[in-house]
């Protein structure tokens, strides 16, 4: 059967990773290419590189990172952060990424999803969603609202409606980030993940809140996620990907074991 994917996420600013210490061996802990290779060898099923470079004139640095990553790892990887147009998507895909993730730009201009899917195929287009829990209302019936700018700007758009709409427009996958859970290390937002994953036909990657293997078990089983994004729990050496996979496998979750 299809395995549940475990996906480390690396934040990159000006060509350097922003997290990542306590690695064993000779790894340059600030180099996204070396960290990508490290996770590739550790058994990551996919890797996400998230560009948090503030100024757009430094974007070529990220493209160079993408090119070097593509030469050293042979599993799919996606690139997100600051993707605003089909041209941005093309740059990243030509540099060697398998997928490209659009987030705020898609909320502001949904047509970028359709254009991307038409130009490169749905399998390349990941919709990143930042979601915040709110009281249910006529406008937000699911009780989950789309937000942008790291949660600072509420968009008045229902998250469930948006997920379905993005699927209709041609998104191939959803990376679903709970702003409430993000950074807490207290577990993913299970209810949100289950809601979205059971209402769309495309795969859903759960994001935000991972602190222990238990959290992954919950979101992959109860939350019905197809994949789980992890960051600090592996970046700081608390767990290895193999440990997480063994934990999940012992509890009946299908994972990729040989690499």
């Amino acid at each position: 059967m299809l395995s549940k994917r475990i996906i480390p996420c690396l934040d990159v600013r000006d060509g350097r990773t922003t997290k990542g210490i306590k690695f064993k061996g000779n790894i340059d802990i600030g180099d996204p290419v070396e960290m990508g290779r490290f996770y590739y060898e550790e058994g990551a099923d996919e890797i996400v590189f998230y560009d948090i470079t503030a100024s757009s004139d430094r974007r070529p640095i990220m493209l160079d990172v993408v090119r070097r990553v593509a030469e050293t790892i042979f599993i799919p990887f996606s690139v997100g952060g600051g993707i605003r147009s089909v041209e941005d998507m093309r740059d990243v895909l030509l540099a060697g990424a398998e997928k490209v993730s659009v987030n705020s730009a898609a909320v502001l201009n949904p047509d970028v999803i359709r254009q991307g899917a038409e130009a490169f195929g749905s399998q390349c287009v990941v919709l990143g969603m930042d979601v915040k829990k709110v009281p249910s209302s006529e406008k937000i019936p699911s009780g989950y609202e789309m937000v942008i700018n790291g949660g600072r700007t509420a968009m008045g758009i229902d998250a469930l409606w948006w997920a379905r709409e993005a699927e209709r427009l041609g998104a191939g996958e959803i990376c679903l980030n709970s702003i409430d859970a993000d950074g807490t290390k207290e577990g993913y937002e299970i209810k949100l993940t289950r809601l979205i994953s059971s209402q769309v036909r495309i795969p859903v990657i759960a994001s935000g809140g991972a602190g222990s293997p238990d959290h992954l078990l919950d979101v992959l089983r109860e939350g019905r996620a197809d994949a789980a994004l992890i960051a600090s729990m592996v970046h700081y050496g608390t767990y290895t990907i193999r440990q997480i996979k063994e934990f999940l496998e012992d509890r009946g979750i299908e994972v990729r074991k040989t690499w």
Partner: protein, 215 residues
């Protein structure tokens, strides 16, 4: 030199990068001369069957591919490069394909379900185990239980069971790899499947195009 067929499909460079990494000289090309002289041919692909067939015909690569297969050149098909080898595909409102292999390519059923009865996602995207059911030099040395990276909504159904080299389960058991004489093709992406995928690629790059049991 290994020719990677350039028929304007997506993701040609990832195959090229994997071969470079493995140390095999290769070139993405649509040049008849270069393809005729290539030691082997890789027929990759990400995209839709309809557009792929259209591009192949416009570039004259459909005829050329047939010629090279006849001539005994080892050929590796990947994903859409496997699908269009069959008689037809259900994609794009029934696309007539190359007819090099007997059989058809079907869409996963809308009510595709797991053994537990859960509705399965389409496309089939991610890592899944392939069971190799044929002793074949290209799959030699791949550890048992290895998973490979898939991303597809259509799957091949060969009319001749003897073509089936590997199978995978996703709501149903489908054919994930085929082999006949100097042709081998797979639904998954070896260039994106980590070490087991690289093993398949390097096996292919050393393969002479024959195998015991071939007709």
């Amino acid at each position: 030199m290994i020719a990677i067929l350039d028929y304007r499909a997506g993701n040609l460079t990832s195959v090229e990068r994997a071969l470079r990494y493995l140390g095999f000289p290769c070139e993405i090309t649509d040049s008849r001369k270069k393809i005729e002289h290539a030691e082997r041919i890789i027929f990759p692909g990400v995209g839709a069957a309809g557009k792929s067939m259209e591009n192949l015909k416009n570039l004259g690569l459909d005829t050329l591919l047939r010629e090279r297969l006849e001539a005994g050149t080892p050929v590796l098909g990947i994903c859409v490069g496997l699908q269009v080898l069959f008689d037809y595909s259900e994609e794009n409102d029934h696309t007539r394909c190359l007819g090099i292999l007997p059989g058809a390519v079907h869409r996963f059923a809308e009510d595709l379900r797991s053994g537990e009865g859960d509705l399965l996602k389409i496309p089939h995207m991610g890592w899944n185990e392939v069971r190799f059911v044929m002793q074949h030099p290209v799959f030699e040395g791949v550890p048992k239980g290895s998973a490979f990276y898939f991303v597809h909504s259509y799957y091949p159904q060969p009319a001749d069971e003897n073509l089936v080299a590997g199978i995978t389960d996703y709501g149903l058991t489908f054919c994930a790899a085929v082999a006949r004489a100097n042709l081998v093709a797979m639904q998954f992406h070896p260039e994106k499947s980590g070490p087991p995928g690289l093993k398949i690629l390097s096996n292919f790059c050393r393969w002479d195009g024959t195998f015991p049991g071939a007709d």
